[in-house]
């Protein structure tokens, strides 16, 4: 396609799109009356435009319409790390508390009474941990089934028992 063609095309398309000013449109028509090629190009462009008017946006088939409507039901909401979710708020609140507790539990030379108190607290903490393990087991069981929960809860309890035994051994 040469420059001459491009220029023609630009003007013919502008004419069909209604973007050509009256003056320019008249000028193009005047040129076409002296140029058979240009006249033919304009006529063919009109014919194409008329043919284009017969085709329209196609209606999507019913099967597709149903599939598109079903997308929200089928697509699970994507996991998002939203810091405002309750579980993240709780987790974030626990972090400084744990840090403070750990720092307070670091005396230079603990007395015998303090050690005894610490052991008591530790035993209490293990009791809570045991309960938490059982609770977690139940949660897991309801979510992913009994088999997995037994394995996890069993592991947690075994671990706690082992810790208790170690603690008792130390006492002895």
């Amino acid at each position: 396609m040469n420059k001459y063609d491009e220029k023609w095309e630009e003007r013919i398309n502008a004419l069909l799109d209604g973007d050509l000013s009256n003056e320019d449109a008249e000028m193009l028509k005047a040129e076409a009356s002296d140029d058979r090629e240009l006249a033919r190009a304009i006529i063919e462009a009109y014919q194409l435009q008329k043919a284009m008017d017969t085709i329209h946006v196609e209606r999507a088939p019913d099967s597709l319409r149903k599939k598109l409507k079903a997308i929200p039901r089928q697509q699970r909401p994507a996991f998002s790390f939203n810091l405002l979710q309750p579980r993240w708020v709780t987790a974030l609140a626990v972090v400084p508390l744990v840090m403070i507790s750990v720092s307070l539990m670091q005396p230079d030379t603990p007395s015998a009474a303090e050690i005894a108190k610490a052991r008591q607290d530790l035993a209490l903490a293990f009791t809570y941990l045991d309960k938490a393990g059982q609770f977690t087991g139940r949660e897991i069981e309801s979510t992913i089934g009994t088999t997995m929960s037994q394995a996890i809860a069993g592991s947690v309890i075994k671990n706690i028992q082992s810790q208790n035994e170690t603690s008792k051994e130390k006492k002895v």
């Binding site: 063609d5 017969t54 085709i55 099967s63 597709l64 599939k67 598109l68 409507k69 697509q75």
Partner: protein, 162 residues
């Protein structure tokens, strides 16, 4: 959010389907490509400017169709460009529906990006600016390519409809 999604489906499903249908020329594949585009719309709805959903969706639909074409590893353009004009005889005295059917095949036989340009601008009636955004082309490029595409169609039409 589901409500606005349903509104988008209602407004754009036919346009997206038309784009996919012309590019892929296969109803089942066009259906799959359109569905994929809407799944992406659903999954990205929070990140898309509501004002730009239509161009975003048309672009995603078209890109998905072009990916599918690449995967097919067929020289669809060459084959169909010839099929369009060769299969049909003279159109003189042909009815509008016959001309329309011929024209659809002729459009489907155009090479990219001409085919998408004609479908988006002349069939779906999007503005030049919208088409430029969908195809990531400048306005001048859109106009130039569209002129070439129309010229090809015009010449093919003149051949079969003397």
């Amino acid at each position: 959010m589901s409500k606005i999604y349903r509104q988008w489906v209602k407004e754009y499903q036919d346009q997206a389907w038309t784009v996919a249908r012309y590019i892929l020329k296969d109803a089942q594949e066009a259906e799959d490509a359109t569905q994929e585009a809407f799944v992406k719309l659903w999954n990205n709805q929070d990140r898309i400017d509501p004002e730009k959903v239509k161009p975003w969706l048309m672009k995603v639909t078209r890109n998905g169709c072009l990916d599918r074409l690449r995967r097919r590893r067929e020289n669809v353009e060459f084959d169909e460009a010839h099929t369009a004009a060769d299969t049909y005889g003279p159109m003189q005295g042909a009815s509008d529906s016959e001309t329309g059917a011929w024209l659809k095949r002729a459009i489907a036989g155009l090479k990219e990006p001409y085919r998408s340009l004609v479908v988006l601008r002349d069939v779906n009636q999007h503005s030049y600016e919208e088409v430029a955004g969908m195809l990531e082309l400048s306005l001048a490029q859109v106009k130039t390519y569209l002129h070439r595409a129309r010229k090809q169609l015009r010449e093919q039409l003149a051949e079969v409809r003397p």
